[in-house]
Symmetry: C2
Subunit: 151 residues, 2 copies
């Protein structure tokens, strides 16, 4: 049975998805570490890159991206969420404005982000439910037209 997840659960997943893009905008490895599952079989496919398998390779890929990015801003649109028990599949359009090597670039990337609901112990030894990324794939949208959104 699909999509019997509650509205609250869907909101939690949407927040986790936004948190991922905030971590990306912050260009902070520490923030990126917080939203990913640090497992050996976690998968990440950046647009035009080979696939990175396992958290160490993925962490390294973010490090390289952050070192080569001066600024990046996301407006996330067209978000669709499906929840199956502990797995949430998100697809969305990343409307990107970025500066790479002093060039201002606007582009659209279609992303699949898969989250797993995990119980994480917090400092007080209480269980904390968190949706962590176990899979990300982004691919450049051709014929991209930026959305008409004023700041």
């Amino acid at each position: 049975m699909r999509n019997k997840a509650s509205k609250e659960e869907e909101k939690e997943v949407e927040k986790s998805n936004i948190r991922f893009y905030q971590a990306f905008e912050s260009l902070s490895l520490e923030k990126m570490e917080e939203v990913w599952d640090h497992a050996d079989n976690t998968v990440c496919v950046h647009p035009g890159w080979d696939m990175s398998i396992g958290w160490m390779a993925i962490r390294d890929s973010w490090n390289r991206i952050f070192q080569n990015t001066e600024m990046i801003k996301f407006i996330v649109t067209n978000t669709k969420i499906k929840i199956f028990e502990n797995i949430a599949i998100v697809v969305c359009l990343e409307n990107i404005e970025t500066i790479v090597n002093e060039n201002n670039i606007r582009m659209g990337v279609i992303a699949t982000n898969i989250f797993e609901r995990q119980n994480i112990k917090n400092n007080n030894n209480n269980n904390n439910v968190k949706w962590l990324i176990i899979h990300h794939q982004g691919s450049v949208a051709s014929n991209y037209i930026p959305p008409n959104i004023s700041d």
Copy 2:
């Protein structure tokens, strides 16, 4: 808990993944229909395309691809499978040889294929378990080197 799926289950998913590429090679809409979930929220992102949402849009996208393809062959490598209850996430490298507009092209596409295990009634009214595609995203791998495989 992840990956407590049995080896048999993993084989079933791998077979379903291969069946998808056989349907693609056959350039037959009927065969493609058999491997997809025909739901309104099924997602398909072909390399460089916008996202197609819902089976009718996805069916139409395959129709257009098949009409514009004279021949396509896949060698699927680097397959990684993760199973969570009724959801299987597959990532693989599609090593493609194709003829489009009389041009012979070799390319690599990294694909995320997500399957859902569904109970389908067969002609004898018995339940048949089938893994159907609910999500596909492909993105072109840059710096692609074809694998060294002799026919």
